[in-house]
């Protein structure tokens, strides 16, 4: 029998004869690998997933051109910076008078569908067949569900509502009509653009600085309450997840090391027999280390797969979007587990090497 075959046989037998011992060792490594993989995978995707939840807050940046209107070139520039994931709604405002009550109403011109999409938290009731969005207070005080007759200086128009909305802001006192109609009635083009920049807090900050640098004469104002809350909540949640996962991984690792060390110490008789049969310290170390490495590798591989499944499922269950496995994590997890197992199994051998094999075999 060749030396390598003998080694393989020894390793296989050691695991096979004491299946339960090998099993507990594999389980303890697998637990560490699972929890480390799950926590790190979730952590790496958390910022993106949580930032998405801030979508519903509506516009997070407002552009205002101080004089004149936003030119098509400027809007193209904004599109480039904001990207396809974000939203841009140019808006123009004018004051109109309702012809019967003589009440002054702020009328906005915008892409009405995009506006609805941007403000998904508003509550809409679709009752009309027109194309205007009417604020709840306008409806309560003036229209009561019917059409609205407005005069814009010389021009006047009948506004047919497509729906009514509650926002809890000044918009409740406003009416939004399609931008083309608005421009036709007033001649005014948008000088304000409501933006929702998608992404992590840092990406949003970068986009804001790019916008400020690229659009002279345009005031770029982040809606600070939203951007601040997003930064705070995302940052702190990440920190909590990181801190608690780190604590859990370290503690479970220690737990695994204790199990491993304990089980090696229990094998002092194996150790003594090997030594008594003439094995050198190096050979014994090598044997124990190879066994630990093999068990750890099996445990870590199983743990990595299970960890990916858990992260995927947590993403699905909590964020309605899967958290995909990070293949980059597999190597550190496998190597880390093997290194830990090696340390845990070879450290106690030093202790045993100080004792005479005869003494161990006698049961001292």
């Amino acid at each position: 029998m060749k030396r390598s075959q003998l080694l393989l046989r020894l390793l296989f037998k050691a695991a096979w004869v004491r299946k339960d011992r090998a099993f507990t060792a594999v389980v303890s490594v697998a637990v560490v690998a699972t929890i480390a993989t799950a926590a790190l995978t979730i952590y790496s995707d958390l910022e993106g997933k949580l930032s998405r939840e801030f979508r519903g807050f509506g516009a997070n940046v407002v552009l205002t051109k101080n004089s004149g209107f936003l030119t098509p070139d400027e809007l193209t520039g904004v599109h480039k910076i904001v990207g396809s994931a974000g939203e841009i709604v140019p808006v123009a405002y004018a004051i109109a008078t309702e012809t019967t009550s003589k009440a002054r109403i702020v009328v906005g011109g915008a892409d009405v569908d995009k506006l609805r999409e941007l403000n998904s938290s508003w509550s809409f009731s679709n009752t009309g067949h027109g194309n205007a969005l009417v604020g709840a207070r306008v409806d309560e005080t003036i229209t009561h569900g019917s059409d609205l007759r407005l005069s814009f200086g010389k021009a006047s128009a009948v506004i047919r509502p497509a729906g009514f909305f509650h926002s809890g802001s000044d918009d409740d006192s406003r009416v939004y009509i399609p931008l083309e109609d608005f421009v036709q009635l007033t001649g005014i083009r948008p000088n304000i653009a409501l933006l929702r920049i998608e992404g992590k807090p840092q990406q949003i900050q970068n986009a804001i600085s790019q916008l400020s640098a690229g659009l002279p004469g345009v005031e770029v104002k982040p809606v600070r309450q939203i951007t601040q809350a997003q930064t705070a909540v995302v940052g702190k949640t990440r920190s909590v997840v990181l801190a608690s996962s780190a604590a859990v991984v370290v503690l479970i690792m220690l737990c695994m090391v204790a199990t491993f060390t304990g089980s090696v110490l229990e094998r002092r008789k194996d150790f003594a027999v090997m030594k008594a049969l003439g094995a050198s310290n190096r050979t014994v170390n090598f044997l124990f280390a190879s066994e630990a490495a093999l068990l750890a590798l099996a445990g870590a591989a199983a743990g990595y797969l299970l960890g990916c499944v858990i992260a995927f499922w947590i993403g699905k269950a909590n964020f309605d979007a899967a958290i995909l496995p990070q293949p980059m994590l597999s190597l550190p997890i496998l190597l880390g587990s093997v290194a830990l197992a090696l340390i845990a199994s070879t450290a106690p051998l030093r202790l045993l090497q100080q004792i005479q094999p005869a003494g161990i075999l006698r049961g001292e």
Binding site: R21, V27, F57, S121, V138, G168, V240, S244, V248, C255
Partner: protein, 409 residues
């Protein structure tokens, strides 16, 4: 005899027992820390979400439409209805009064203001900054500093002027100059306005006791289908349940009852979304805690199983000396229970310290571990060690004592 066996087992196998104890203590400290963090994270993140500001707004029902473009208010203060300022304190008297974390009243109008550089026409906004108020025995202060935490001031915040509810005499400001205490950076329309204590603005505008709008920051429960029900159409029992749930809708309903002739609206972007964000974060921590608890349980079980599996010779010896299966099992399980309780106690203390540290370093406030967690952790420790030991003990007892003692098993 049993006690002596137990005692000797601990005395003679110090190393083996300490390994098991360490594993249990580590596992239980994970359990304690994760339960504590998972349990407290909702409150902590809710505090962070307060920086979104108010979630309810109150306006007079008789009010005319707002005429506001780009943050410039074009509606004179004399037009439209107002809410009496002295009624605002009634908000604290509603069923969910404790959930009202703060409110800020506003009164504003365009005004010519004389400055050193000449006369300017600017919007003058009156509000509370941190106005001390009293409701019954409850003393508190409220204003934009609590409700709009994103407002920043370079210099000093103005002092709220005048003791509510006593009104200032109309001529109190005649000929007096007002000092600018700081430059406000709100990131919003207020950056173009002058913001002053409410009572000064009321005196300047000649509208004592008047408020146009109040924003309210209330702790609410995320809206669900039940929250959207119309309370007036519910049966008395169901209506009571609706009324006693801290939904934004039910708090708004109660505010309308307390303040006659007002409309209360949710500030929808804030109210609709903060619950969602909160439930995502708490849900994530719950699932992570569950995963960690499961991992800790498995790790502890594996450690217990490993220590008992190594003791099959002991089992063989006991059985060959005539011990029954139940006697062996009860000895091992009693040992496990002692280890579990000791490990659980140590783990609880270590976990509490860990949770405290996490709270302090991330949120700047401690995460308090509820004493009931101790009971849960101890119970969990005993359960997990029993589960880990029971399988191994059963396995060890299945072997023939003679074979075990020969060392062949």
């Amino acid at each position: 005899m049993f006690l002596r066996l137990l005692f000797e087992s601990f005395r003679r196998q110090k190393r083996r027992k300490s390994v098991a104890l360490l594993a249990i203590a580590l596992g239980m400290s994970i359990a304690t820390a994760m339960i504590a963090v998972g349990n407290d994270i909702g409150d902590k993140i809710n505090q962070e979400l307060r920086s979104l500001g108010a979630n309810l707004v109150i306006t007079p029902i008789e009010d005319t439409l707002d005429v506001n473009i780009g943050g410039v208010n074009l509606k004179p203060a004399s037009e439209g209805a107002v809410i009496p300022e002295q009624d605002l304190i009634k908000m604290k008297g509603i069923f969910w009064g404790h959930n009202i974390k703060g409110f800020a009243p506003f009164l504003s109008d365009k005004k010519n203001i004389e400055t050193r550089g000449g006369e300017v026409n600017a919007e003058l906004i009156g509000t509370y900054f941190a106005q001390p108020l009293r409701h019954g025995d409850d003393q508190f202060s409220t204003g934009v500093r609590t409700v709009n935490p994103w407002w920043k001031v370079e210099g000093e915040w103005p002092q709220d002027y005048g003791n509510w509810p006593e009104q200032l005499p109309p001529d109190v400001l005649a000929g007096r100059k007002l000092r600018i205490s700081g430059i406000l950076d709100s990131g919003g329309a207020e950056d173009q306005a002058i913001v002053a204590p409410l009572h000064i603005v009321q005196a300047i505008l000649g509208q004592p006791n008047a408020v146009q709008r109040v924003t309210v920051s209330a702790l609410t429960k995320p809206e669900d289908a039940f929250a959207r029900k119309d309370p007036d159409k519910l049966s008395p029992a169901v209506r009571e349940r609706w009324y006693c749930s801290p939904y934004a809708n039910s708090i708004a309903y109660q505010l309308r009852q307390a303040l006659p002739n007002v409309r209360v609206e949710q500030i929808r972007p804030v109210e609709q979304n903060q619950g969602k964000v909160l439930s995502r974060v708490t849900g994530l921590m719950l699932l992570l805690s569950l995963a960690a608890l499961l991992a800790a349980a498995l790790a502890v079980s594996a450690a217990m199983a490993a220590t008992i599996l190594e003791r099959r010779q002991e089992v063989g010896l006991m059985k060959s000396l005539g011990a029954g299966n139940s006697a062996v099992a009860s000895l091992f399980l009693t040992e496990a229970a002692f280890l579990a309780i000791a490990g659980g106690l140590i783990g609880f203390l270590a976990g509490a310290v860990l949770a405290h540290r996490i709270g302090q370093s991330i949120f700047g406030s401690a995460i308090v571990v509820h004493p009931v967690v101790l009971a849960v952790v101890l119970f969990g420790a005993v359960l997990v060690t029993f589960l880990g030991s029971a399988g191994a003990v059963r396995k060890a007892m299945q072997f023939d004592p003679a074979v075990v003692l020969r060392g062949d098993a």
